[in-house]
């Protein structure tokens, strides 16, 4: 009798816990969520995130507030997320470069293993571009030949990552380049359009010039050829074994419960099929929408970090340590 009672108690307790656990999992989210953007208001990440938040709000049945935490190329937001303990209620929507190359090029308080990558939803379209009427035309091969004969050919860089890539290429091809720093597409565009600089890195600005042809693409930095410039080869096709593809991912702290991650992933997957999200991504910021589940995106990011490390070693340390 006693045993039976105890047994019942244990059983019911177990059931209660089980039910409670299930309820918790099913109920996420039970309060408003915060989508953190690591860039200032008005950039392409911010614009996209605001639409994403609207779509997620409907999918999750809770308000999703967008908060900008600009600084350090998205790094400030990640540093704060790494310390977040609210189990997926706060998540960051950002670019992969912040988490892959960020910790390699600057001192950071976080690393790749501090987060879970819920999903990748957009593919970056970064590229190496040039202007109209250049002596080398608009093919990568001709540029390399031209630069080999003309020491002092100029390149405008924007990020630590593209600087490393171009230094690696310069080393391999024996180029003597003048690498000028510039900030963002707004700083790069006048240099390319006026002809002051021969070729440059572009995060996405060139997509806006696809129709006028004023900014031809020499090399795609994405995994595949660019949507708007199908004629330009990728890094791999040109013979450089580098995967620098930029992916826009949603990230949560590493100890976020599985159930929460799954629920977020479900909502994100629905967002990638939502017309509004597709419109803002493919028509306003001109990047293709994609769907990369947690496992796939995490593996890709891990491979990229390994690749960058190998590249840095080959270059003999960080570009700035020369």
């Amino acid at each position: 009798m006693k045993m039976k009672l105890l047994g019942t108690a244990v059983l019911s307790a177990a059931m209660a816990v089980g039910v409670a656990g299930q309820v918790q999992a099913d109920d996420f989210p039970t309060k408003p969520l915060t989508l953190v953007v690591g860039w200032g208001a008005g950039g392409s990440t911010d614009i996209q995130a605001r639409v994403l938040a609207n779509v997620l709000e409907e999918e999750l049945g809770q308000p999703v507030n967008v908060v900008n935490q600009p600084g350090a190329g998205g790094g400030v937001a990640l540093a704060r997320l790494a310390n977040s303990t609210d189990e997926g209620y706060t998540f960051v929507f950002g670019t992969s470069m912040t988490i892959t190359f960020g910790p390699l090029s600057t001192e950071t308080t976080y690393g790749l293993d501090d987060f879970r990558y819920v999903a990748g939803v957009t593919l970056g379209q970064s590229a190496i571009v040039t202007g109209e009427d250049r002596p080398f035309g608009d093919s990568w091969e001709d540029l390399v030949a031209y630069a080999q004969e003309n020491p002092g050919t100029s390149y405008a860089n924007q990020t630590a990552l593209d600087r490393m890539i171009i230094e690696y290429i310069a080393q391999r091809e024996g180029l003597d380049l003048r690498i000028v720093p510039t900030s963002g597409g707004a700083g790069m565009a006048p240099l390319i359009l006026s002809g002051d600089v021969d070729f440059a890195y572009s995060g996405g600005t060139h997509s806006g010039y696809a129709e006028t042809g004023e900014m031809p693409v020499l090399l795609s930095l994405a995994e595949d050829r660019l949507v708007a410039y199908p004629d330009a080869p990728t890094l791999q096709e040109a013979g450089y074994d580098i995967n620098a593809a930029e992916i826009r991912v949603a990230m949560v702290p590493k100890d976020t419960p599985d159930a929460h991650v799954e629920r977020l992933a479900e909502a994100l997957k629905a967002a990638t099929q939502d017309e509004r999200f597709i419109e803002v991504t493919e028509e306003r910021i001109l990047m293709p929408v994609t769907w990369m589940p947690e496992e796939e995106v995490t593996q890709t990011l891990r491979d990229q970090v390994e690749g960058y490390k190998a590249l840095l070693e080959e270059l003999g340390g960080l570009p700035e340590d020369e």
């Binding site: 900008n68 600084g71 600057t106 100029s154 630590a160 707004a186 006048p190 002051d196 806006g208």
Partner: protein
């Protein structure tokens, strides 16, 4: 190039009732902000920018421009009625406005101020439309060499023109330069003066710096003054028959208004000088060229007209370098850049080509804003005057709240709040010891741009000075800068000699 039809279409868009309502909202809000002592334009724009997230690009910019124009006109009201400029640039308006108002003619003073404001603003807007477009089409000729040379010139020019002690100007500018270099080195990625704060990697955030040094510090100064003088006298609008503006009197101020608009437009077109300098320069010019210079400071309508026309002309003129070159000519122009960015528009040389319709709709919106300003000011004189009788302790606490809320809204977090307070204290002492915060701010804003362009120039040219011979515009500005330095050096040397001479005689 954009066709004439498109220009007409953009004007039609600005005359749509929805656009008019939005611009009116901006002008009204700006006017109120302008009237309230201590609340200024830059803060109003900074606080309003997040409000515009959910507006269309055109509505947002039109709203902000209406706001910006409204503040310039509104600030004259409190300058005239309370002797407290609603805007630092209206300090010159107090000089004649307050004496006229206290001699029983407040309505006349307000009307002179309003008409001068609107005319100055409208003429400078037309100038912007005429000048910014041809300017923008040659803007691609302004490469890193030219921009670096112009920025150096601007820095020297501002340091020389900002007034006050030469050494104090140099110190304030130096502080700005040092703070402007904080963050990652653009070329090597090395950390400079970040002291381990990831938040500083992209430089000292501009908004907390601006709100701290301009708004919060001003509140501290006001608080200080309020503590000493708790009852500022309020002038009631009288029923004096002499208290109205006759057509003859208005006509008499027109030459001053035109001249001062010219001064304001010139000052506005040069990056960084700002409306305060414009207003004081125009006031000085009007006084010097008047037949009766002694009547200035005692309620001369020309004094009010000069200060207000110039103050208001600076605002649209400061958009000439903004739209033509991407260089913000004033703090509020710099804040507008952010507002454009939110709506995906890169302000600068390429704007005319990439967003011509936006540019023309904007221009027409600016003209509409000028006219609405006249209507708002004319019918609202009495009502707006009452806003100034809100007790300062309420104004000050509300403003401090708004400043901090603005930082929080922008997502700067605790770090932003700390930054604001640090710069509030810093700004308080700048003001107290009469260091030019104009020079400080301009140096801070110009430094990162100057550094980037200078380094680009050095790398691209391979460090050869002879590149200047191929770039005549850059060469010209380098020569101007050298001449300016020589001139500044010579005048301060002469002043020093005179002072020494006098000291000997005593």
């Amino acid at each position: 190039m954009i066709g004439f039809d498109a220009i007409l279409n953009s004007f039609a868009a600005a005359l749509h009732y929805e656009s008019i309502a939005i611009i009116l909202g901006g002008v009204l809000l700006g006017y109120i902000v302008g009237v309230i002592p201590g609340l200024n334009r830059a803060v109003a724009i900074a606080i309003a920018i997040p409000l515009t997230f959910y507006m269309s690009a055109y509505a947002a910019i039109a709203f902000l421009i209406g706001l910006s124009k409204g503040t310039a006109a509104g600030s004259a009201v409190s300058a005239i009625l309370l002797n407290t400029p609603g805007e630092p640039s209206s300090a010159a308006t107090c000089l004649d406005g307050y004496p006229m108002a206290s001699s029983g003619k407040p309505r006349k003073a307000l009307k002179v101020g309003l008409l001068a404001s609107v005319i100055g603003d409208l003429l400078a807007t037309l100038l912007l439309i005429a000048v910014a477009i041809p300017f923008a089409s040659v803007a691609l000729k302004f490469g890193p060499y030219e921009l670096a040379a112009i920025l150096i010139f601007a820095l020297v020019f501002i340091a020389g023109m900002a007034g006050g002690s030469f050494l104090k100007g140099l110190a304030a500018g130096g502080m700005g330069v040092i703070l402007g270099t904080v963050g990652l080195d653009p070329e090597t990625g090395a950390m400079r003066l970040t002291f381990g704060f990831a938040e500083l990697m992209e430089g000292v955030p501009i908004l907390p710096l601006v709100i701290g040094t301009l708004a919060l510090a001003e509140m501290f100064v006001q608080l200080d003054e309020y503590r000493r003088n708790k009852d500022a006298s309020v002038i009631k609008l009288g029923k004096n028959a002499d208290d109205d503006l006759s057509y003859q009197e208005f006509k008499g101020t027109l030459p001053t208004i035109f001249k001062s608009t010219g001064v304001g437009a010139f000052v506005g077109a040069l990056p960084g000088l700002g409306p305060s300098v414009g207003a004081f320069m125009a006031y000085g010019l009007a006084k010097r060229s008047a037949k009766d210079p002694d009547s200035f400071g005692k309620g001369n309508p020309n004094g009010i007209a000069a200060a207000e026309a110039s103050d208001n002309a600076v605002i649209p003129a400061s958009y000439i370098p903004l739209f033509g070159l991407g260089i913000p000519g004033s703090v509020s122009a710099a804040l507008l850049v952010g507002a454009f960015m939110i709506h995906g528009i890169q302000v600068g040389p390429l704007m005319l080509r990439d967003h011509p319709e936006m540019l023309f709709t904007l221009f027409s919106g600016m003209i509409v804003a000028s006219l609405l300003m006249l209507a708002v000011g004319w019918y609202g004189l009495r009502i707006f005057a009452r806003v100034t009788s809100v007790p300062p302790h309420i104004v000050i606490s509300v403003v401090i709240f708004l400043c901090l809320a603005g930082i929080q809204v922008q997502g700067y977090g605790t770090f932003g709040l700390v930054t604001v307070f640090v710069f509030a204290i810093f700004g308080y002492f700048l003001k107290k010891f009469d260091y030019s915060f104009v020079t400080f701010l301009v140096a801070f804003i110009v430094t990162p741009m100057l550094e980037m362009n200078l380094r680009q120039s050095v790398i691209l040219s391979g460090g050869e000075f002879s590149i200047l011979l191929e770039r005549p515009i850059a060469l010209a500005f380098v020569v101007f800068t050298v001449l300016m330095v020589l001139h500044l050096g010579w005048t301060s040397y002469r002043r020093w000699m005179q002072a020494r001479h006098k000291a000997k005689q005593v």
